[in-house]
Symmetry: D2
Subunit: 389 residues, 4 copies
């Protein structure tokens, strides 16, 4: 998949992108050249035809070399994964995504909005129907990974033209549209190279053949939504797992390097308590891989069934993988000791990068809510008096 | 596999066995009648020919109905699983186990010894070579599950007849041997129905054709050892996962039953914080199943490779599954509230049962040590001065 | 305070009371004889005149010898502590409690009701006003510690005779009243010797001079309520801290006794990882003592101020102390190893006893709610739509 | 102590110092002008004569405004605190520190060395005795807070001139000495304004009257060592507690600001799960303050007794306070949500700052080791065979 050179180059550039808060241009060129952005595109569309399982492993490996690069590429992979899933189910409404990705178009994921914790099921962006079936979108999307590079943007908005039947509209925009602006406002603690800037939609037009869904507001199991959910959560889990994997490597190297005067100058690799910590890291990582594999394989083999249990498994996987990566990085820092606290240390960067996992969907609250509902049913809709809680 | 009646009966008897500290006789008869003790025995030996993966799922289900019953049966399943693994690898040294299990002999697992944390790789039991190739074993084995019922005992001891080349001898004893005594000394906080009493070996004889291995002292990757390790850890993980599964069911039922005056008499199933806890339980359990599946399938498909990483995955699985079950039970208790604290509540029993997972091999220290060694190598053998640590 | 003989006797009887689920009669006689039930009663009322700080330390010591005994006595100490607090503030409405306790009357705490998570601020017990100012109480109180022994019962109920102004009535009942019944229904996982049975009030009469408060329904800072809150939470923290203290002693003893074949037969006291665990236990306990001291001293010196921060500190202390004790017991069990799992081991009993701390007020939810409200203000009272959470 | 203006200025400059990786010059001038560096200096030496307890509270407050500023000032406070402790005990060997600090000399703490986990009890710096009783020090000290500003450096080194009796020499150097160099090498993930650069000692001279101790190598309870230990650990706990305190303020503000579409646009301050988290933060902080108070008061009132229990309490306090601050910051980040991930957010800086607490002495391993030894005694000195662990 990736040549050793490509990976080495990607790792060597990560610190620089982070420091200058700049986009991973050179990485992206290398990945495009290697055909990686066509990983999930079927062979008949000019792609590599990899399975989702294979792709998650590649994403883990990539993230272990440059988390922000993997995270940004993830969004393109999500759209191609969704399109492939639908295609495999006999739904060809997103085949154009496969065709275009096969011709090296790059897809951005323009869904997140400030304060919108309904995520896929609500929107603060206006979707105005146009004669002939197109839509014009107006609103601000945040966290649009790949901002400097995407050429197509998958997005959603609320069509409230019929107040009785508001609908969520899903469509794809073309970067060349004049109604699209990009704010240069990405300046985060970590994951800096992803340059996930805000996107300003000011009547941006989606052509009728790029409008792929009109869905009722609120949770639903439409194959598009289910496809986004599955590909998004699984691939995100793979990325954060790569951070954890790399943190273990750095912990092992650190333990072998760090010496102890207390212990006659031996390394911490010989210290039983440091070994205990490292053992804990290894076991923590071992527990995640089969979880990613299992859900990715379910997608590949179409053995999943849309429903509360499936959504719970998906958001749960992302939750566990990001929590795990956070634990692993925090512990690796302790194993390595003071040198990990240098601003230039890779582990210090991972400590900043890994935190992003707290904020990306499904966040902890959303994941717990979905899981609870899967066994307790929905919460009552009547007035709840919580005065004394 | 199990009829609804069988399972219902098993669940209905669990509290009684626990209270009277008595063996799960009736359960065992039912399981034998259902052929369950022949689950892992190939069809050609009169068994059901289930895979290990199928069997782990059955064990989880069984443990969700009666943890101690599942735990005790586990030991017999380990021996038959080991014999089946060897058989599949073309090693027929334990085929007699399959043949006998196919004829409803019941196998006990007589390995644990007080203070022996070397486990499979050392022994305080004496194995005295006999003319013709047999051995006489003298020593005390503890935690011999199925004490009242086993008819064959797989065991190990140290043959130090050649002081230069001490060896660990593995063999099977027949219950009818006069050198075998059983102490009625099982009185534990939980897992009481397993009646895992101490076994006194006083020159108990293993016939030459029942002596299956003579191995060097210390860690090694002999297929017998690897087979025990794999079947033991995976099946144990399945049992404790069944406890967790049941605890979630009880938590869900409890949340739906328990009311809150604060919340106008609504149930805790409507309380956001209780829902958060229940959601956490569901996600915790979801994370374990694919881990068990993955390793069981590796055994079934013979895709594992003996080595530090494989042993780490195995003991890590058991460690994570037991830790997870403990977390789940402790949290379920909080969800259910005060009624869980009744001595008669099923959850109070699970709270006692689940703790046994801390003590069974591989314990936390052993699992961490194995995992650390897999990436850091062994600890130095020279004199270590830990004076000031 | 306690003679060595008294403490030794109390410890020696704890296992027996637990096993037979019987009341700590002989302990109580010894404690009464030692004057301990008059600990918080001022000297002028015939008491020992100890401070609350001194009494918390005594309760910790007592709990380290017999948790259930300390827990049951706690309830009597709460009432005498409340009465003393009020007396010190110049409020003599509960002086009769001090006078009677000085004459060896024993006070029970009859407040808890099934499903009443409003605790002090609501009640499902009916308080019917009587001519002349007395009240008749009808309802069921649960968890009435000291059931076999109390002679006076402090209790509360709801007077809804004026539907516009329902009030919570606080009063003391005499055991000799014919309207009082005790159900022999105490059969819990732990804390068995406390015999905290249910109390059936069937028109039980409180004389006018035993009716001490009529308060509005809902949270308020009346000195009686504040006094109960303070004495209850602080003394409870002291009891669970005693369990933790004892668990550390048992862990230390276990580490010194348990040997390791892996480590050439040395004890676990020489094992760096076991030492790490024990060190963690010591540090965990060290963190709790000053917290109890600080709040008890605030009560003794009347430096507290009723308000959200004070209530938060109180319920927070109880929460932290019980969580800490749970962590300490669970970890101590790991240090000691398999022998802790004997049904007869003291640590196995502590493992059962310590769980009670989850259920006693303030429970985790209540403590978090109080703490949140202290900085975020109350939750809105309008209709909340949580449909999608 | 601090004027509102001083604190506001300090907070306003913190982000800038952090970004430019520059020393807190202006803060320091303000603190010196306010007399704060004389906080612990007795009045008769021209100081403010504050107690250690009062000073810890001031340090917590200062850290809540600028963690790195408080951390750097801490080191000067440690030396003056030690000198004051000794003075109060009738030991006048460090009175010159009080006199000089009273004249606004600034003291650096030059003890840490790379790989020296023996800390106060060993050194890789050479201390060469000079005729007349002085010493020349050669070696590299790391983490010398206040590097740009200190005028006196308290340090230690190993005098191995008598191979039979190596001693640890404690002395104070004058910044004007030509044997002192400072490397401009401070570039850390957090706590950047402290500019805790490396100090190169190349035969730096301590005059005979500035050599304050010659102690045997290894643990000992000399009042100087005990004084450093106490003042260092307690003041460090106070600093990290300030970080936690500020994180709670930011979490509260964030919860009140952040809105939820799911919850009809209400703020997270109205969300029960967010409230649960905030309540947890408040309770976590409440648990630390009395711990700091209690040990500081013990120092002030000289009620401590040198010994394993006292050292355990001290390093335990620092351990618990830093762990607590880490938990609080990580949780506050979750409460605030995505906006906390902006590089410019104060919470993102605290997330970086708080990690330093993992590395400063006593680190987790040292604290656990000390605590374990206090109850288990020292680890055996004989050869330990850990081959199989």
């Amino acid at each position: 998949m990736f040549s050793a050179d490509l990976l080495a180059g990607i790792r060597s550039r990560a610190a620089g992108y982070d420091q200058t808060n700049s986009f991973f241009d050179e990485d992206l060129q290398g990945l495009v050249a290697a055909g990686y952005l066509r990983a999930l595109v079927p062979v008949e569309f000019g792609g590599l035809g990899l399975t989702l399982q294979q792709t998650t492993r590649a994403q883990t490996l990539l993230a272990a070399h440059a988390p922000a690069t993997a995270l940004a590429v993830n969004m393109h992979l999500v759209w191609t994964g969704v399109a492939r899933s639908l295609h495999d189910q006999g739904d060809h409404s997103l085949d154009f995504v496969l065709a275009e990705a096969g011709r090296d178009e790059i897809f951005g994921f323009g869904v997140s909005e400030r304060g919108n914790d309904l995520m896929l099921f609500g929107s603060t962006t206006d979707a105005l129907p146009q004669p002939g079936g197109g839509y014009r979108f107006t609103g601000t999307k945040i966290f649009t990974s790949l901002s400097p590079a995407w050429t197509r943007l998958g997005t959603h908005g609320l069509d409230s033209s019929d107040p009785e039947n508001p609908t969520i509209v899903w469509a794809f925009l073309d970067r060349t549209d004049t109604g699209i602006g990009v704010k240069d406002d990405w300046n985060t603690l970590g994951m800096r190279a992803s340059q996930s800037q805000s996107t300003l939609l000011d009547g941006a037009l989606a052509r009728p053949d790029r409008v792929v869904r009109q869905l009722p507001v609120g949770p639903n199991g439409d194959p598009l939504v289910a496809g986004i959910f599955a590909n998004f959560e699984i691939l995100l889990a793979a990325v954060y797992t790569g951070i954890g994997q790399r943190a273990v490597e750095l912990a092992v190297a650190g333990a072998k390097r760090r010496t102890s005067l207390k212990n006659d100058g031996r390394t911490h690799a010989q210290d039983p308590v440091a070994r205990w910590r490292v053992g804990g890291l290894v076991m923590a990582m071992d527990g995640i891989y089969p979880q990613i594999d299992a859900l990715a394989r379910a997608v590949d083999e179409q053995t999943w069934q849309t429903g509360p249990a499936w959504f719970t498994q998906l958001s749960g996987l992302k939750y566990r993988a990001t929590q795990n990566a956070k634990f692993v990085v925090d512990t690796a820092v302790q194993v390595v000791g003071g040198s990990a606290y240098n601003a230039d240390s890779e582990l210090a960067r991972l400590y900043r990068d890994v935190l992003a996992g707290f904020f990306q969907p499904s966040d902890a609250d959303s994941a717990h809510g979905t899981a609870a509902a899967s066994v307790l049913g929905p919460i009552d809709q009547g007035p709840v008096d919580l005065r004394s809680s």
